[in-house]
């Protein structure tokens, strides 16, 4: 197994930087996700690692060796494409055997390794079928077997689950995790789905406008996103720009006044270097009671609001609540039921509010038209 070091990699198409000075390391045997919206440069980064496009700046090292001078067929990487890219006129066996035949592996060994790979991805008795005779999920498994049978140094996956329906996608997610654990292959996975990235990865690299916006393990990126952009992409519904007050606190909290609002919230966090911050809180962390509730406060940060709209999502109800003290409505997810127009009390626990770094305008690169 090999690690992948991407250092300062840039790729320009005409006068547009598709990726600009992207750096991250995928440790040997780990599962790294490149997460971001379409056009953020995640697929381009993958293609640069695979060698399908030549980079304009920087360096890619696999197992410590620079690979930029090598064509794709000399890099020994397994690639799984979004559309699977199975060879339509070849059987499953021939598809999987393709890479071994290019390597002139003896016939007997080829048969054994193909059988092993088909077994690994759980495709019993389908070796003689053609791709068009297979379901989307089965084609996906063949694509995985074909990429893994050559024992690649790294497995590159370009949104492999996006063409599957929701149920199959959840199933394939487990399969992907099992296969990666069993083979121990270093994997780099491109996705725009934060849930996929969270469930599969050892490391998540969030990309924005061709640059890396943040990179961390799923748990830490979920609990403490680096910036407002990363928090937004990881589903932090409530984001408010604010300014950290000057008042010295000695209880481990800082007071932050909400910009364009009329409230100062206590946040359980160390004082940040910059006064300009973004406050973030997940809708599920907000508490909400009826206005006449006699319930005592858990702490500071209580707001008054009026229910504007709600959506029932089965396990809970998501409310949009107008607060006079805030510039935009608050999103709160709670179990209790409230009516539209009802006055409510809201509580934002200081420990649940995140202090986030505001993003530089346009990320300083990737000037997209």
């Amino acid at each position: 197994m090999s690690d992948v070091e991407v250092s300062g990699v840039s790729k320009r198409y005409d006068d547009l930087w598709a990726v600009k000075r992207v750096s991250f390391t995928a440790p040997a045997g780990s599962f790294t996700s490149l997460l971001g919206p379409s056009g953020c440069g995640k697929t381009t980064t993958l293609r640069l690692i695979a060698g399908f496009a030549a980079l304009d700046e920087g360096e890619v090292r696999i197992g410590g060796k620079p690979v930029d001078a090598l064509p794709p067929w000399r890099r020994n990487l397994g690639v799984v494409f979004q559309n699977y890219a199975l060879f339509p006129f070849m059987t499953v066996f021939d598809n999987v055997a393709f890479g071994l035949r290019r390597r002139r592996v003896p016939r007997g060994e080829t048969a054994a390794r193909v059988a092993e790979a088909i077994d690994l991805v759980g495709l019993p008795d389908l070796a003689g079928r053609y791709p068009r005779q297979l379901s989307g999920g089965q084609q996906q498994r063949v694509a995985l077997a074909r990429a893994l049978v050559i024992r690649p140094e790294v497995l590159l996956l370009d949104e492999p689950l996006s063409n599957l329906d929701a149920k199959l996608r959840a199933e394939m997610r487990f399969e992907l995790k099992r296969i990666q654990r069993e083979t121990g292959v270093t994997s780099i996975f491109v996705t725009h789905d934060q849930e996929e990235a969270l469930t599969l990865s050892d490391q998540i690299v969030v990309m924005n406008l061709g640059t890396v916006a943040g990179a961390a393990a799923p748990k830490s990126i979920w609990e403490q996103p680096e910036s407002a952009y990363v928090a937004d992409f990881l589903g932090v519904e409530n984001l408010f720009p604010g300014t950290v007050g000057d008042g010295a606190e000695d209880d481990g909290t800082v007071a932050v006044s909400v910009s364009e609002g009329s409230v100062t919230l206590d946040v359980a966090a160390a004082r940040p270097a910059e006064a300009a911050v973004v406050l973030g809180i997940r809708s599920g962390d907000i508490k909400m009671w009826k206005v006449d509730s006699k319930r005592a406060l858990d702490g500071p940060n209580e707001l008054a609001g009026t229910v504007r709209e709600f959506t029932y999502v089965g396990s809970a109800v998501v409310y949009q609540v107008d607060c006079a003290a805030l510039p935009r409505p608050l999103i709160a997810t709670v179990q209790e039921e409230f009516a539209v127009g009802e006055s409510v009390r809201l509580h934002l626990p200081p420990g649940a509010i995140k202090l986030l770094r505001p993003d530089a305008p346009a990320g300083g690169s990737g000037a997209r038209p």
């Binding site: 399908f52 067929w73 199975l86 890479g99």
Partner: protein, 268 residues
Amino acid sequence: MADLFLRSGRGLVTVMAVFWLVFLVAPIVVTLASSFTSSTYLTFPPPGWSVRWYLSAFESEWVWSTFWNSVVIAVVSTTIAVALGIAAARVLARHRFYGRGAFEYAVLSPLVIPGVVVGFALLNVSVLIETQDAGLLNLIIGHTMVTTPFTLRSVWSSMAGSEISLEEAAQSLGATRWSAFWLVVFPLIVPGIVAGAIIAFTFSFNDVTISAFLSAREARTLPVELMSHIEYLPDPTPAAVSSLMIVITLAFFLLVERTVGLDVFADR
């Protein structure tokens, strides 16, 4: 409203079918029938039946020599047109580049420019480059130019089904650029190549307009020779030769239909 639209459409199809039968199929039937005439001049319906004009055709030196000219020209120009068509289709299907549109129009222009114009232009060019006496060469160049649009179009449309990711997948699995094309793309475009080649061959083999301009005295094609024969002599040998050409052309299309299906001629 929609019903009326549908019904009038059906009526139109019926009328078209009748017209096609009368004006396209009927002359073929007339030619075939009159080639079996027993008389020494062309009449329809024939006064009696015989195969003497077929025997006459097989015995005529001019039929054989121009037939072989036509075969050589068709085979060589088709081969070149297929090679050029594959190369150009690959570029057009895979790359976006400055002047791509102009290139596309230039290569496809012989499809819309009248044969007379193309023939006359090519004659002038051959005079300019002093190859006007090398009839065979001129004919091969001319036919290649005119048939390449056909091979390009059909290869291009078959290439639309092969995504670039197929080649990339093959490359990531250890195939060089060339073997990725040969092992993965080529098998997918074979139907397009076959269809384009057959159209190109049929066009070249049957063409009169362009060939008439380019045929030198010692290098005449069968259709051009047939034309001049019909102009000066009343004997039904050309009818027999024409009938054979009709049969050969039909056999070609039947071959395509049986091997790759006629839908390969459909546009992308």
